[in-house]
C-alpha cells in the first residue's frame, strides 16, 4: 500500500475538520476526492502532503510513518496561487527547479508551450485559466510518486480544463498515484478509478467506478447522490 491513513483526525479549535479517516491508497491509481466545499478535502490533502500535522491518527507512506523526506516524492498543488507576481513563466520553472530535485525543466517548457504560455509572460498578467495551467505544469513537471491536486479544474473555462485533464492523463503512467479533488464530477468521470467521498470530515465511501458501472450501471453522479 503506498499510503495508509489510520483514524486521521484534525481539529481546528473546537471544529473537527477531518474525523477519524481510515483510508488506503494503492500505487499507480487515479483517485477522485469528492465532497462539498468545507468537507475536509483540503485539510486531508495537506496532512497527507506533510504540510499540516494531524491532531490524532497516523499516516504511513510506503509502510513507514510519513516524514519530512517523503515530501521529495510527493507533489502537492494547493488551490491558492503560489508564485510571486513579479515572476515570469520561465522564472517559475527555475524557482521550481531550485526547490525540487525531481523537477524536469524540459518537460515544464514542453507543457507550458503546448498550453500557450510564453516564457516571458509575467505571473501578474496571467488570466485565471493561464494561472491554473502554470500551476499544473509546474506540479506535473516533477517526477513524483504521488501527486495531490487540490481543485485543479476550478474556476477555469472548458478548454483550459480539457488541456489540464490531458496533461494529468499523460503524466499518470500507471506507476505514479494521483489524488484529484474536485466537484466537477462529469469532467473526471471517464478517467478516475476510485472515487473517495467525504462529508463533514468523514469518509463516506471509496468506490471503484468501473466495477460500479459494470455491476449496477450507476454513473458517478448517481453514486454521489446515493451516498451524499
Amino acid at each position: 500500500m503506498m499510503m495508509e491513513c489510520k483514524e486521521l483526525t484534525k481539529w481546528f479549535g473546537s471544529k473537527k475538520a477531518v474525523s477519524e479517516m481510515t483510508l488506503n491508497l494503492e500505487g499507480g491509481k487515479i483517485y477522485g476526492l469528492l465532497g462539498e466545499n468545507g468537507s475536509g478535502k483540503t485539510t486531508w490533502m495537506k496532512m497527507v502532503a506533510g504540510l499540516t500535522l494531524p491532531s490524532h491518527g497516523e499516516i504511513l507512506y510506503e509502510g513507514h510513518p510519513l516524514c519530512y523526506h517523503d515530501k521529495s516524492e510527493i507533489a502537492y498543488m494547493s488551490t491558492e496561487p503560489f508564485f510571486y507576481d513579479f515572476m515570469r513563466v520561465k522564472d517559475v520553472g527555475e524557482y521550481y527547479g531550485d526547490f525540487f530535485e525531481d523537477f524536469d525543466a524540459g518537460r515544464f517548457v514542453e507543457m507550458t508551450e503546448a498550453m500557450g504560455l510564453l516564457s516571458e509572460m509575467k505571473v501578474r498578467n496571467l488570466s485565471s485559466g493561464m494561472n491554473a495551467k502554470l500551476k499544473i505544469a509546474a506540479t506535473l513537471a516533477r517526477k513524483a510518486k504521488l501527486y495531490l491536486l487540490d481543485e485543479p479544474l476550478n474556476g477555469i473555462d472548458y478548454k483550459a480544463r480539457e488541456e489540464i485533464i490531458e496533461l494529468i492523463i499523460g503524466t499518470a503512467d500507471g506507476t505514479n498515484t494521483f489524488v484529484i479533488s474536485t466537484h466537477l464530477l462529469e469532467e473526471v468521470e471517464s478517467f478516475v478509478e476510485y472515487a473517495i467521498f467525504i462529508r463533514e470530515g468523514k469518509l463516506m465511501d471509496k468506490v471503484n467506478l468501473e466495477s460500479e458501472r459494470m455491476k449496477t450501471g450507476r454513473s458517478l453522479t448517481d453514486i454521489y447522490m446515493d451516498i451524499m
Binding site: 499507480g28 491509481k29 487515479i30 485533464i165 490531458e166 492523463i169 499523460g170 499518470a172 503512467d173 500507471g174 462529469e186 468521470e189 471517464s190 478517467f191 478516475v192 478509478e193 468501473e210 458501472r213 459494470m214 450501471g217 450507476r218 454513473s219 458517478l220 453522479t221 448517481d222
Partner: protein, 125 residues
C-alpha cells in the same frame, strides 16, 4: 468521445475501436496508438487503456509485438466476422425494442421495407 456514464468505459472504447476497424479507419496490420496515446485520446486512465488492449488482443482484434507496439490484426476473416458480429448486436437490440412495443417479426420486416431513408424522420430531438 461522448460516454454513456452508466456503462463500463473500457467496453465503450473497445466498441469504438472495433467500429473504426470495420469502417476501415484502422487497417489490417496498422500500428495502433500506444496505450499512453489511447489514454489521452479517449480520456481514460492507463489501467483502462491497458485493459482495452488486453481484451482486444485476447479477442484476436489486434496483436502486440514486444517493445514495438500493438497492431491491428491482419486476418481478413476477422474484419468480416467483426462486422457481422456488430451488426448482429445492433439487430438483436432493435428486435428486442420493437418486440417490446408489441411488433411481430413480419410487421417489423414490413416496416423496414416501407422505411424511406430520405424521409424526414426528425422528431424534434
Amino acid at each position: 468521445m461522448e460516454y454513456n456514464t452508466g456503462a463500463p468505459i473500457y467496453l465503450q472504447v473497445m466498441n469504438e475501436l472495433k467500429k473504426r476497424m470495420v469502417k476501415g479507419e484502422l487497417k489490417p496490420g496498422e500500428k495502433m496508438p500506444s496505450s499512453r496515446e489511447l489514454a489521452v485520446m479517449y480520456k481514460v486512465n492507463q489501467n483502462t487503456a491497458a485493459r482495452i488492449y488486453r481484451e482486444m488482443e485476447s479477442a484476436g482484434y489486434c496483436f502486440t509485438k514486444r517493445g514495438i507496439g500493438t497492431f491491428v490484426s491482419e486476418e481478413e476473416n476477422m474484419f468480416e466476422n467483426l462486422k457481422k458480429e456488430m451488426a448482429g448486436e445492433l439487430l438483436a437490440n432493435f428486435m428486442h425494442e420493437m418486440r417490446d412495443l408489441g411488433f411481430e417479426k413480419k410487421d417489423i420486416i414490413f416496416q423496414i421495407e416501407d422505411y424511406r431513408e430520405d424521409a424526414d424522420h426528425d422528431d424534434g430531438m
